[in-house]
C-alpha cells in the first residue's frame, strides 16, 4: 500500500527552468526510500513536493498531483499536512524554532492543538526514540551538529507522521553525527514503521538502511528499485559497491561485511605490483613551503593545539584527520596566519590560502566568474580583461559551464568548489582546505580531487582538514592524525590509514589496496 504517491509531477521555480519533468513515484508504507542523484538533479524539489512546500511556499508552476496519506498537496498547504508528513532539511542550524529542545519538539503539537497530557507523553516518547532525552533542557545553539539534527528530526516526528522526508540530513555533519542521525532514522523505521524518504550524497552509511532507491536525473526518475540495482551504475555509489563493480561481484555489496563475504579469493587474482601513491612523496628534493614548530594555540581559554610540528613541502597533499574539536581547523588557520600563536612559530616561504568550511562566508559577487576575478582585483590586479589563471581554475574545478550563474544559486558542492577556485586563483603555493567535501556529490568530489592533485603536481602543496577518509585515501600523500590538539600519528598516507581502525572501505575489504583505482590497476596488471 502506498502512503506517498507522485502522479506525473512537473514543476518549475518562478522564472526558472523546469526542475521536475514528469515524476511518477509510489512509496510503500514502511519503506526507506533513498533518493540519489547529482546536485541540482531535483532530489530536493522532489522531497519538498511531498509536504507541499513546493509549490505552496516556493511559488512556481506546478503540474500533476502529490497525494500523501490520502491528502492532495494541491488542496493542503504544508501546515495542514504537519500531522502526516515530517520534513527535515540539511542545515541543522536553521530549523529549530524554540530555544529549548523539549519545547521545540512540542512546537508542532502545540500548533496542532493536542491535549496537554497526550502532548507530554508524546514528547517523552519522541525524545527517547531519538536518544536526546538528556538534552531536553539544552539550548539548540549549544549542541553539536549531529545532536541538533536529531532534535530537528524529533521536532518533525513529534506529531506521529506516517512519512518522514529528510533532505540530506547528514551532509553538514561529521561522521559521528551522521552515524547517530542515521542510526536514529533506522530505529524509527524499525520500531514505529515510519516511512522514510531520504535524499543523500554520502551513501556509505545511508545505503545499507534503504529498502528501495531511486535515481533522479534532470528532474525525472531514471531508475528505481532495490538499492543494489539502482546503485549499480551510479558514480556516487559506496566505495564497496564500486569495488564489487570493478571485480564483477554479484550481488553488489552495500556494506563492508557483505563485501568481505564476497571477497573470498579475490585478492589472489590481483597482481600487487607497485603501490606507489599517484603523486609520490617528494620529501627528499622538495623545498618546505610552510613549517610549524611547537605550535600552541589557545582559543577562548582552552588550549586547542599544543606542540604541533608539521612541515609541508612541494608536491605534497597532507590530510589532517581527527574527530570534531581535535584542532584540525585551528591547525589550518594557524598555518595560514589567521590565529595568534601562544607558542612556537610558523615559517612560510609563500602565502598560505585558507578556504573556510562554509563557502557562504566568502561569496558576494553576482556571478561565478566575477567572484573568482575579485580575488585578483583585491590582490592588486585590475580584474578586467582576460586572466588566464581565472579560466585555469574555473576549468580545473569544473566550473566553466557555470561562470555566469549567481554563486548563491549553486548547489552546496558547486559553492564549495567555487570558494576553492576564488581563493586558489590568488596564486598561493599552499592551499589549506577545511572540510572541502562536505555536502558534495560524486562529480564535485572528482573535480576537486583532480584539482588538488594537479596543484600539488605543479609544485604547490595542499593541506586538507577532513573527516572524509576516502578523500584522504585517494588524494593524500601524507596523513596527520590530531587528537586533543596534539599530533598522535603522522607519516605516509598508506601507513597511517592502514594502521588505523578507521581505514577506508577498500582497505578493509582487500588490504593492502587503499582505493578502487588501485584495485583496478592491479587487476589490469594481472590480466595482462
Amino acid at each position: 500500500m502506498s502512503v506517498l504517491l507522485y502522479d506525473d509531477v512537473r514543476f518549475a521555480y518562478p522564472g526558472g527552468e523546469p526542475a521536475l519533468t514528469g515524476v511518477d513515484l509510489e512509496v510503500a508504507a514502511g519503506a526507506v526510500l533513498l533518493l540519489v542523484g547529482s546536485s541540482g538533479s531535483g532530489k530536493s524539489t522532489l522531497l519538498r513536493c511531498g509536504n507541499g512546500l513546493v509549490p505552496h511556499v516556493s511559488g512556481g508552476r506546478f503540474g500533476g498531483d502529490v497525494v500523501v496519506a490520502g491528502r492532495s498537496t494541491r488542496t493542503h498547504p504544508p501546515r495542514a499536512l504537519a500531522d502526516v508528513v515530517g520534513f527535515v532539511h540539511q542545515d541543522p542550524e536553521a530549523q529549530l524554532v524554540v530555544d529549548e529542545v523539549e519545547r521545540d519538539v512540542a512546537f508542532v503539537l502545540e500548533n496542532l492543538g493536542m491535549a496537554a497530557a497526550a502532548m507530554r507523553r508524546r514528547v517523552e516518547e519522541v525524545l527517547d526514540a531519538l536518544g536526546i532525552a538528556h538534552l531536553r533542557h539544552r539550548s539548540p545553539a549549544t549542541l553539536s551538529g549531529g545532536e541538533r539534527q536529531r532534535c530537528a528530526i524529533a521536532g518533525a516526528l513529534a506529531a506521529g507522521p506516517s512519512v518522514l522526508l529528510l533532505d540530506e540530513p547528514t551532509s553538514q555533519l561529521d561522521p559521528q553525527g551522521a552515524d547517530d542521525v542515521l542510526a536514529a532514522v533506522g530505529r524509527l523505521n524499525d520500531d514505529l514503521g515510519t516511512t522514510v524518504v531520504l535524499a543523500e550524497h554520502r551513501l556509505e552509511r545511508a545505503a545499507p538502511l534503504a529498502t528501495a532507491a531511486a535515481l533522479v536525473e534532470a528532474g525525472r526518475i531514471v531508475v528505481s528499485g532495490s538499492p543494489g540495482r539502482v546503485l549499480a551504475d551510479y558514480p556516487g555509489a559506496p566505495t564497496v559497491t564500486r569495488l564489487g563493480r570493478a571485480l564483477g561481484w554479484d550481488p553488489l555489496p552495500l556494506t563492508v561485511r557483505q563485501a568481505r563475504s564476497l571477497a573470498g579469493g579475490a585478492a589472489a587474482a590481483l597482481a600487487p605490483g607497485d603501490l606507489a601513491r599517484p603523486e609520490p612523496l617528494r620529501r627528499a628534493g622538495g623545498a618546505a613551503l610552510v613549517g610549524a614548530t611547537g605550535v600552541r594555540v589557545d582559543l577562548g581559554g582552552r588550549t586547542v593545539l599544543s606542540g604541533v610540528e608539521l612541515d609541508v613541502v612541494e608536491g605534497e597533499v597532507v590530510a589532517v584527520l581527527g574527530r570534531n574539536g581535535a584542532g584540525k581547523s585551528t591547525l589550518l588557520r594557524a598555518l595560514a596566519g589567521l590565529v595568534g600563536l601562544r607558542g612556537g612559530r610558523v615559517v612560510r616561504s609563500g602565502a598560505v590560502a585558507y578556504v573556510p568550511q562554509d563557502p557562504g562566508a566568502l561569496l558576494f559577487r553576482p556571478t561565478v566568474r566575477r567572484e573568482v576575478e575579485e580575488t585578483l582585483r583585491l590582490l592588486g590586479g585590475t580584474g578586467r580583461g582576460a586572466r588566464p589563471e581565472v579560466d585555469r581554475w574555473l576549468d580545473a574545478l569544473g566550473l566553466s559551464h557555470l561562470e555566469g550563474r549567481h554563486p548563491r544559486s549553486l548547489s552546496g558542492g558547486e559553492r564549495q568548489r567555487l570558494a576553492v577556485a576564488a581563493v586558489a586563483v590568488g596564486g598561493a603555493p599552499v592551499l589549506a582546505l577545511d572540510e572541502p567535501t562536505r555536502g558534495m556529490d560524486a562529480a564535485s568530489r572528482t573535480a576537486l580531487e583532480r584539482a588538488v592533485r594537479a596543484h600539488a603536481a605543479a609544485g604547490g602543496a595542499v593541506v586538507l582538514a577532513t573527516h572524509d577518509v576516502e578523500l584522504a585515501a585517494r588524494c593524500a600523500t601524507r596523513a596527520v592524525v590530531l587528537a586533543d590538539g596534539e599530533v598522535v600519528a603522522q607519516g605516509d598516507a598508506r601507513t597511517v590509514l592502514a594502521g588505523s581502525l578507521f581505514a577506508p572501505q577498500t582497505l578493509r575489504v582487500l588490504p593492502p589496496y587503499l582505493t578502487v583505482e588501485e584495485v583496478q590497476a592491479a587487476l589490469a596488471r594481472s590480466s595482462s
Partner: protein, 395 residues
C-alpha cells in the same frame, strides 16, 4: 549494518556545552520567568529611583552576581557582557555630547573651540567650556542607565525565553515567538560575522584590503541570513505553525494591541512635549486598549501549552523580596532620605545610608536560591521531581 570508517573516537562527545557561560548550564532556570521579570523590573526601577552612584553600583553588583550564579548555557547569556559594553559606550557618548552642548553652570575645566548652530538646528553651542559639574552629573546619569541595562541584560542571561513566551498572555504569543526567534538569530549572526571577516582575510592570504571591505562582508552576511530565514520559515510551516489561522477574537485583539501601542507612544510624545493632560488621556486609552487586547485574545481559542510551569512558593518569595527593593527606596524617599540622589553641584562625595543599602541589596534574593542543575528539572516544574523525567505523563 552501519559502518565506521573515520578516525574517530566513537564514545566521546567532542562538542560539549559552550565554555565560559556561568555554572548554571543547561537546566531549566531555577526560577519562573515571571519571578525573573519582577526581579528585572525591580532592579531597573531601583537603579532609576536611587540613582546615586553608590546604589547603582549595588544594583550592578547584584546583577553580576546573579548572572554568575544563574547564567544559563544559552547563546543569549553570552550577550550579557556585550549588552553591558554597549550601555557603557552609550553612557560615555552621552557624557561627551552633554559636555559639548551644556554650558553656563560654572566650574570650567577646559575651554574648547566652539561653534553655535543656526536657530533652525536648535541654536545651541557646540564646544566651548567643558564644565566639571556637567560632566560628573552626566556621568552619574549614564551610570544609572548602565544599571538599568545591567538589570535587563541579566534578565536575558538567566530567563528561559521559551518559558517567557509560554507564560505571556495569549495576545502576546505570536509577537513573543517572533522576538524569541529574532533573538536566537543574534548569536548566529555574531558567529557569521566572525567567520566572514576571517574568510575575507584568508582570501588574500592574510593581506588586509580595506577598500570595499564593508560590501564584501555585508553581502555574505545578508545573503546567508536570508537563506537561514527561508529555511526557518519552511521548518515552521512544515510543523504546522499558524495551522488554525487567526480567529475573529484574535484579529480584534491584534488591532486593539496595535492601537494601545500607538496610544502609549503618542502619550509619551505628548509627555515629552509638555502636554500633560493629552498625555494622560492617551496613556489611559492605551492601557484600556491593552487590557481589552489581552482579555479578548485570552478568551478566544485556548492554546494548549506544553508543560506549563506553575509559580512555586520560592518564585513568589523571590518576586516579593525583589519588589520590596524599589518600594523600600520609594518609602525612604518619601521619608526625606537625601542620599538617594546625588548632584555634582556643589561637588561632594555621594552620601551612603545603611538602610537604603539594605533595601537595594534585597535584589540579591535570587542568589539565595540554589542554581538549577544541568540535565535535571528543578523541583518547581510540574510533576514529582525526578519521576517526572520518566515516561508517565505528569498529572
Amino acid at each position: 549494518m552501519r559502518t565506521t570508517e573515520q578516525p574517530q573516537g566513537r564514545t566521546s562527545h567532542a562538542t560539549g556545552p559552550a565554555p565560559g557561560v556561568g555554572p548554571g548550564l543547561s537546566a531549566a532556570p531555577a526560577l519562573h520567568a515571571a519571578a525573573w521579570l519582577v526581579w528585572a523590573v525591580s532592579a531597573a526601577a531601583t537603579a532609576q529611583l536611587a540613582s546615586s552612584p553608590v546604589y547603582v553600583s549595588l544594583v550592578i553588583g547584584a546583577a553580576l552576581l546573579i548572572v554568575a550564579a544563574h547564567g544559563r548555557d544559552t547563546a543569549l547569556s553570552a550577550a550579557f557582557p556585550l549588552l553591558l559594553g554597549a550601555a557603557v559606550a552609550f553612557a560615555v557618548l552621552r557624557v561627551v555630547l552633554t559636555a559639548a552642548t551644556t554650558h553656563g553652570v560654572g566650574g570650567a575645566w577646559v575651554t574648547l573651540p566652539s561653534a553655535t548652530l543656526p536657530t533652525l538646528l536648535g541654536g545651541f553651542t557646540v564646544g566651548g567650556t567643558v564644565e566639571g559639574p556637567v560632566v560628573l552629573g552626566a556621568a552619574a546619569e549614564g551610570f544609572a542607565l548602565v544599571g538599568i541595562v545591567a538589570a535587563f541584560a541579566a534578565f536575558n542571561a538567566v530567563v528561559s525565553h521559551a518559558e517567557l513566551v509560554e507564560s505571556a498572555p495569549r495576545a502576546f504569543h505570536e509577537p513573543g515567538l517572533v522576538v524569541t526567534v529574532a533573538l536566537a538569530f543574534v548569536p548566529a549572526t555574531v558567529a557569521a560575522v566572525r567567520s566572514i571577516r576571517e574568510a575575507d582575510r584568508a582570501r588574500t592570504g592574510g593581506r588586509v584590503v580595506r577598500k570595499g571591505r564593508l560590501l564584501r562582508q555585508l553581502v555574505p552576511l545578508l545573503e546567508s541570513g536570508m537563506e537561514k530565514g527561508v529555511a526557518l520559515s519552511e521548518s515552521m510551516e512544515a510543523r504546522g505553525f499558524a495551522h488554525h489561522g487567526p480567529g475573529a477574537g484574535e484579529r480584534a485583539a491584534g488591532w486593539a494591541g496595535l492601537g494601545s501601542l500607538l496610544a502609549l507612544g503618542a502619550g509619551f510624545v505628548a509627555l515629552v512635549g509638555g502636554a500633560e493632560v493629552v498625555a494622560l488621556l492617551f496613556a489611559v486609552a492605551g492601557v484600556v486598549a491593552l487590557v481589552v487586547a489581552v482579555l479578548v485574545a485570552s478568551r478566544g481559542t485556548s492554546r494548549v501549552r506544553y508543560r506549563p510551569r506553575r509559580l512555586a512558593p520560592t518564585d513568589a518569595a523571590v518576586a516579593l523580596a525583589s519588589s520590596l527593593a524599589p518600594l523600600g527606596v520609594v518609602a525612604l524617599g518619601l521619608g526625606g532620605n537625601e542620599t538617594l540622589r546625588w548632584t555634582a553641584d556643589p561637588l561632594a562625595l555621594p552620601a551612603v545610608d545603611v538602610v537604603a543599602c539594605l533595601a537595594v541589596l534585597l535584589l540579591l534574593a535570587p542568589a539565595v536560591v540554589p542554581p538549577a542543575r544541568a540535565g535535571g528539572a528543578p523541583a518547581s516544574v510540574q510533576g514529582p521531581s525526578g519521576q517526572a523525567e520518566r515516561h508517565e505523563p505528569a498529572t
